[in-house]
Amino acid sequence: MQILGIFNVFYTYYAKITSFPFIIQLCIIFILGCFIAFSIFLAALSYIRYLFNKKVRKENKLSPVIDELLVKFLFDEESKYSEFEIYNEFTSKIGKLSKSNLNLITDRFIKCKNSFNFKSDQRFLTIINAIGLEKHIDNKLDFSSAFNKMKGIQELSNLSISTSESKIIPYTYSGNNQLKKEARNSYVRLSKNDPFKYFEDSNEQLNEWDQINLLKNLMNIENTIVPNFSKWIAYSKNDSIISFSLKMCAFFKQQESIPTIIEFLKTENHNLRAEAFKTLGELGAGEYENMMKEMYPNQPENCQKEIIRSIGKFNSGLSLDFLSAQYSLSNETDTKKVIAESILNYENKGNETFSILMNSEKDFSRLILQHIANPLIKFK
């Protein structure tokens, strides 16, 4: 009877709605539809929020326990633990080694590996084998989305498991561009034989984020000496790899690459040429200062700025007249700013010249100099 009553109520409303004009019916349906969609959206949002909070609570609860176990098994030099003991201890304190728990353990492991150096990798590998971490990461590589595969590759690379090299190789020629880049970046860190082999034949452009990742891997490289990047400056046909190599020559202070960079200045690509001038400045190649001054008038603006910055960095005391002359000849505000900054920081006489310029300039040009002289502005 109750069901019939409810049916009756609905039917009454249905009958009422159908008695309305068509446009009103349409509006009612639209409003009801929006209401239902919004309710579903709110419910989904609440559920996602609930899952996230649950995950955070679990992480907060388990992370200190995992850290304690890692300290016990990795740093306790007096005791030796078997894989069975380690597995038992982990399962008794953390619970079942489910996917989510293993993900959390992997994160803590990576943090540990990045922060601490272990005398023996044996303990590290024993724990990985005991709790089946390698198999867990392998599963990510086998049947999952590209995102999970990339995550798996990153984890293998960060944990530097020796067998990882062979697992990553198939993905270095993947059809998915992002996955391929990730695999090649990780290969740099893991390969013991030829970590930079993909530099030779790579056609893909490395964006800035890829370059940051590559640098991160280079800084954590194990058992391999950082190579001399000048060979890629000389022979690579990929502009992004040349740009990265120039940056790396400066970062790792590879003085031996200076002759190659000087030769490279003949390139037609002015962006790369500007990068080369910048690298020469970072490397303190003061013996080429005169050559750079001679090249200055024929260069585009970005190269001119880098030449000025490099001369400023050489700080040889021989180029103050050149800088002052270029300041008065330049029409570009940005270039004037760079020259003024170089003059200000140029030896003791730079300050004097800067004061003379300040007194002689008016209006906007004077404002530029005041801006440069302001010590509170860090990035001018």
Binding site: D67, L70, V71, F75, N114, S115, F116, K119, N220
Partner: protein, 129 residues
């Protein structure tokens, strides 16, 4: 019992070192923020300082200068921890001459041995990179 003052924003690192030191009977005071470091340096009692370059509101070089400028802390073993393999940063740190420099990833056993040696002879400069 020795007491270590650890100045670092990296929660994982500080907590793990604290756990490790507690097993070796070393007390730990942790400061996560460069803004409060001066308070800690002046008002807490400690036997050696471990300071990383990853601190909020101050960089490691500023911290090293601060530690060496305070009468209470300048003769106490001071260990700098650099976050990466940046050669420029290493040179900058060497100018300030902390008692020892470690690069992450840190060999914690070696760090402990270095601290013991430094406590026996505080004048030596050790570079472990």
């Amino acid at each position: 019992m020795n007491t270590a003052l650890i100045i670092d924003s990296d929660l994982f690192f500080t907590n793990t070192v604290k756990l490790f030191f507690s097993q070796k009977n070393i007390d730990t005071i942790i400061c996560h923020d460069g803004m409060h470091a001066l308070d800690y340096l002046n008002n807490k009692e400690y036997d050696f300082i471990i300071c990383s370059d990853q601190i909020e509101h101050k960089n490691g070089l500023e911290m090293a200068t601060l530690v060496k400028g305070i009468a209470k802390s300048k003769n106490i073993p001071y260990i700098s921890i650099i976050g990466n393999n940046n050669p420029t940063m290493k040179k900058e740190y060497e100018k300030i001459e902390p008692d020892a420099i470690f690069t992450k990833p840190v060999d914690i056993q070696l760090m402990l041995t270095t601290i013991s040696n430094l406590q026996l002879n505080t004048s030596s400069f050790v570079r472990v990179l």
